[in-house]
């Protein structure tokens, strides 16, 4: 029998070097083969290349700028639509939703309380860039770059107009949603926004059943209501609104030549165009009463929020585990079917006292967070009330810069714009 000693020797040395610290622990040491058998390599598929992340951010910035140009300068609905289609395809169907600025809120918040959280820098940039942009060019992100918005926008078939008072009230939901999402993210409980995002399963064309159901519901809704998620629920939109309010540039509809024809208001599916109004000046009265109501509302929100926090705490995973362990150790263990999570906890032999202590901390966090949540909700409600009480004087139709999503529909329908476009003055410059 011919034995290739050299090969055996090299193999042995190699094995010794590579595996000697490891093989001591293994029950069946990997064999040395006599035949020419080559040990296959473990199959690995490389992750998405690093540099593509930079490309994503670059494209995001470009798309926001392009969208702003199309809506503010070029004033063309078709171009905005093309841009949003691109965003839908790239950020939506190619990138498949993650990571997006809407969900990035939670990453930022969690990383501020939990330094061990792995926060990729992309999350920060993707969160901050559209916010900063909105300070200068309004909600151009919503209009052209957001795949969620683009999907809803393109789905809109037959619009059913929502009464404006209802629209204003429903849009408060976004702030509550934002508050809840921040609370749940802060306590490392769940990423509410990501878990209940309706459009990510649509981009991925797959998902858990509840997600698909949610997605289907919003798709159906989007066929008849303009951007229902953006207007009523989107927590990122809730952040963008106040920023866009003080934006340097904003969408305006031929301010000098407006013929008050109301076509732009009809064209806007989001109820974002305010009509001219000449309110009677009312005497400023009851200011103290209003202020008193406002402050007592805040206090009531804080008190109720405190207890609501205790309720919300029960959705935390650790709290759930502690309740389970408690029931197990206090009751009859034989009768209780434990979750895998609880079984694993018991198997590791951690002290239940430690868990209870930890959970007490989580509960306190939720209760304190609940106070802030309650105050926040009532604060937003109060502001909305005060904002509603305001009656500004307007001579012409003006887009509400907080609500306007730079979709450029109003330009399409405006007779003055049409006329200017047809006379070749397409890229009309704003004074």
């Amino acid at each position: 029998m011919k034995v290739n000693y050299k090969r055996v020797l090299i193999g042995a040395i190699f094995l010794y070097l590579v595996a000697s610290p490891v093989f001591g622990e293994y029950k069946f040491p990997p064999p040395e083969f006599d035949t020419n058998y080559l040990v296959p390599v473990m199959r690995t598929v490389p992750a998405r290349a690093d540099w593509l992340v930079y490309l994503d951010i670059f494209i995001l910035i470009e798309v926001i700028l392009l969208s702003a140009w199309a809506s503010l300068k070029r004033r063309s609905r078709n171009i905005v639509m093309l841009i949003s289609m691109f965003s839908l395809l790239y950020f939506g169907f190619y990138k498949e939703g993650c990571i997006c600025p809407i969900g990035a809120v939670q990453d930022i918040v969690l990383s501020l309380t939990n330094p061990n959280y792995y926060l990729p820098f992309t999350a920060v940039l993707i969160f901050i860039i559209p916010l900063v942009a909105s300070l200068f060019i309004g909600r151009a992100y919503c209009g052209g770059a957001c795949p969620h918005g683009a999907l809803q926008d393109l789905l809109l078939l037959k619009e059913i107009k929502i009464p404006r008072w209802l629209d204003r009230s429903l849009s408060m939901l976004a702030y509550i949603y934002l508050g809840l999402a921040v609370l749940f993210a802060l306590t490392d409980s769940v990423f509410l926004i990501c878990k209940y995002d309706p459009f990510v399963p649509i981009f991925r064309l797959t998902g858990p059943f509840y997600m698909l159901l949610n997605g289907g519901f919003f798709v159906l809704l989007s066929l008849f209501i303009g951007r229902p998620y953006c207007r009523f629920l989107c927590p990122y939109g809730a952040l963008l609104k106040p920023l866009a309010l003080v934006s340097r540039e904003k969408v305006t509809i031929t301010p000098d030549k407006c013929i008050v024809c109301k076509l732009c208001e009809d064209s806007c599916p989001f109820g974002a165009i305010n009509k001219p109004d000449k309110p009677e000046r009312r005497k400023a009265k009851n200011r103290l009463v209003v202020l008193g109501l406002f402050i007592s509302g805040l206090i009531a929100g804080g008190v109720l929020g405190n207890y609501t926090g205790a309720l919300l705490a029960t959705y935390n995973r650790d709290v759930k585990l502690a309740v389970e362990i408690y029931a197990y150790s206090e009751g009859e263990p034989e009768k209780i079917i434990l979750s895998d999570y609880a079984k694993e906890y018991i198997r590791t032999g951690e002290s239940s006292l430690l868990l209870y202590e930890k959970v007490a901390g989580v509960k306190n966090k939720f209760k304190t967070g609940g106070i802030y949540l309650g105050v926040w909700i009532m604060f937003v409600m109060g502001l909305q009330f005060l904002y509603a009480a305001r009656k500004p004087k307007r001579d012409i139709y003006e887009p509400d810069s907080a609500r306007c999503m730079s979709c450029a529909r109003c330009f399409r329908d405006c007779p003055i714009e049409r006329q200017e476009k047809s006379t070749g003055d397409g890229s009309r410059k704003q004074e």
Binding site: E25, K161, P163, I176, G301, A313, P333, Q384, F385
Partner: protein
């Protein structure tokens, strides 16, 4: 112009019909997919009941070829069905998407051909003209109303939240109390782990047949080598029964069972193989429990350290991972300040360690790796020159550690073979015995640093008998119970003072009680020997006694293989 309009009309109609048809197909596809998705197996392929039943049948009739082929057919059928469903969902999804997009595009195109210039709709005025409602600003009314509704919702949630979580962490905390352990027998070989009793009257004579001096006796349902531990009226025992680990508490006054709790370890003990008592191993529950007066700590050969309170409720359990100890672990836990110290000589590379855990929580306070293989002794804590040292015996060497930090102080290489004896301390010397065909008894002076083998061994002597239990000393006399021999030695010099030859073997450790030595044996006897080496009596027990007895308040608690006796005068 007319033609154009006509064509547009035709196209509009066409697209409308296409849109409706596509929408119907898409809706049907969505419904079918939903129903199909929700029916039967999803993501994870489950063990099918049909296959399981067939499998059981197959195991019953292993030679039935027909059954085997039936099983294989069914197996193949189910696997194919699983993947068929998977691909059906994939294709169905694609069909749905195509038709949904088609419907959407057709609707859009229909819109293109109907598009007219936007004009002011007369009726739409009414929608927005509700700025005022009965003189009030409608936005104010609606937003005020919303605020009230939200406040109401918050209130509802708050009422739910008002219900507390089912426990309050503060209540479950253990209060710190100073507990007097001096009159208790709270661990392996008594409160100090020495097997030495200095006061109290204990009988030297009893008869289990006539019941003379037997206060009570009970039959034990579980088997193990662990020794009884007594604190006040509570007597704790461990045992295992069909791989279920148990900690039991008896009333020390009358022997009635207070509670018997199974240790909750969801590790499947079927996977754990421990050499049973009958097979010559130590069994699942050889380590003796230790109690601090409030909590009782039991260690098992499955590498679980578990803490129970006096009501029989499990407080915590710590798992140290699988060990490779041939006979099963038998080292008992030790109380030290707020901690429990445990010597885990588990065999295997890098598996042996010394750990200290917080009594209250079971958190590890320190952990030190030990460079030794498997051994079975319990460590002892001694005080030498005002300093506390934790003495361990293990493979080849005696190592001393700082009991507060786990730092190694010194080591002596004087042992050979498998070590099951624990160290004892008396007259400033540590006595360590190794186990082999020849037993070496070594006396070591503590102190120093590093390897002190050459300097610290004061004397050593050899005897051609095997000692597997722990000796006892009062600082003058050292009593070692070896195989068929009980030896009394002068601890100062190692000089043999007396020897008693007995046709017996000793696993339980001898106790020195007010100058009288009690030696339980494997033949089911307890030999009573005087300080001068005279055999005072031989008490017959019912079965072999492998556990060291407990001496508390004039009562002797002896565990034999089958029974637990409380011996003393009523």
């Amino acid at each position: 112009m007319m033609d154009q309009e006509n064509r547009n009309n035709i196209l509009r109609l066409f697209f409308k019909q296409v849109a409706v048809a596509a929408a119907i197909v898409a809706i049907l596809a969505a419904l079918t997919l939903t129903v199909y998705y929700l029916s039967g197996q999803q993501g994870n392929i489950q063990d099918s009941p049909v296959l399981t039943a067939l499998k059981a049948k197959l195991e019953k009739y292993p030679d039935n070829e027909k059954l085997l082929f039936e099983f294989r057919d069914q197996d193949l059928k189910e696997r194919t069905a699983f993947f068929r469903k998977s691909s059906f969902l994939d294709y169905g999804k694609n069909i749905f998407i195509v038709f949904f997009l088609l419907a959407l595009a057709a609707f859009r195109l229909k819109g293109v051909f109907t598009e007219r210039l936007p004009e002011v709709k007369k009726g739409s005025e009414t929608v927005y003209k509700t700025g005022e409602l009965a003189g009030a600003n409608i936005y104010m009314v609606s937003s005020g109303l919303t605020a009230v509704i939200i406040l109401g919702l918050l209130g509802t949630f708050a009422i739910w939240g008002f219900q507390k979580l089912p426990f309050e962490p503060a209540e479950t905390e253990i209060k710190e109390k100073v507990i007097d352990l001096s009159s208790a027998w709270n661990g392996f070989r008594g409160p100090a782990g020495t097997g030495l009793v200095k006061d109290g009257n204990y009988v030297k004579e009893w008869d289990i047949k006539t019941g003379k001096n037997i206060i009570w006796q009970i039959a034990l349902p579980v088997k193990s080598y662990s020794s009884p531990v007594v604190y006040k009226d509570n007597l704790f025992l461990t045992g295992s029964e069909a791989k279920v680990l148990k900690v039991s508490c008896y009333d020390a006054k009358n022997g009635s069972l207070k509670w018997s709790s199974s240790v909750m370890v969801p590790v499947k003990l079927d996977d754990v193989e421990i050499m049973s008592e009958d097979a010559g191993g130590a069994g699942y529950a050889a380590p003796t429990t230790v109690t601090d007066g409030e909590l009782v700590f039991a260690f098992f050969a499955t590498d679980h350290l578990v803490c129970f309170d006096y009501a029989g409720k499990q407080r915590w359990v710590k798992y140290f991972g699988k060990s490779e100890n041939t006979y099963g672990l038998s080292s008992s836990p030790l109380l030290w300040k707020k901690n429990i110290i445990l010597q885990l000589d588990r065999g295997g590379e890098g598996l042996s360690k010394l750990v200290s855990l917080d009594r209250k929580t079971g958190q590890i306070t320190w952990e030190t790796k030990r460079p030794v293989g498997a051994s079975w002794g319990t460590p002892a804590i001694i005080e030498y020159k005002g300093k506390n040292e934790l003495i361990t015996t293990g493979e080849e060497q005696v190592i001393s550690y700082d009991p507060d930090t786990g730092k190694e102080l010194w080591r002596v290489k004087c042992l050979t073979g498998e070590i099951s004896t624990s160290p004892v301390y008396g007259d400033g010397k540590i006595i360590a015995i190794d186990v082999g065909s020849v037993s070496t008894v070594s006396a070591i002076i503590p102190g120093g640093a590093g390897d002190v083998t050459k300097t610290n061994i004061v004397w050593s002597m050899q005897e051609e008998n095997q000692a597997i239990n722990t000796p006892v000393t009062d600082g003058k006399l050292l009593v070692v119970a070896m195989n068929s021999l009980v030896v009394g030695q002068d601890i100062k010099t190692g000089k043999v003072l007396w020897k008693i030859s007995l046709e017996d073997d000793f696993w339980a450790s001898p106790s020195l009680v007010n100058g009288t030595i009690y030696v339980p044996s494997q033949k089911g006897k307890v030999y009573i020997v005087s300080y001068e080496g005279k055999l005072l009596g031989t008490m017959d027990m019912d079965s072999k006694c492998s556990a060291s007895p407990a001496f508390v308040d004039g009562k002797i608690f002896i565990r034999s293989e089958k029974n637990l006796f409380c011996i003393g005068t009523r």
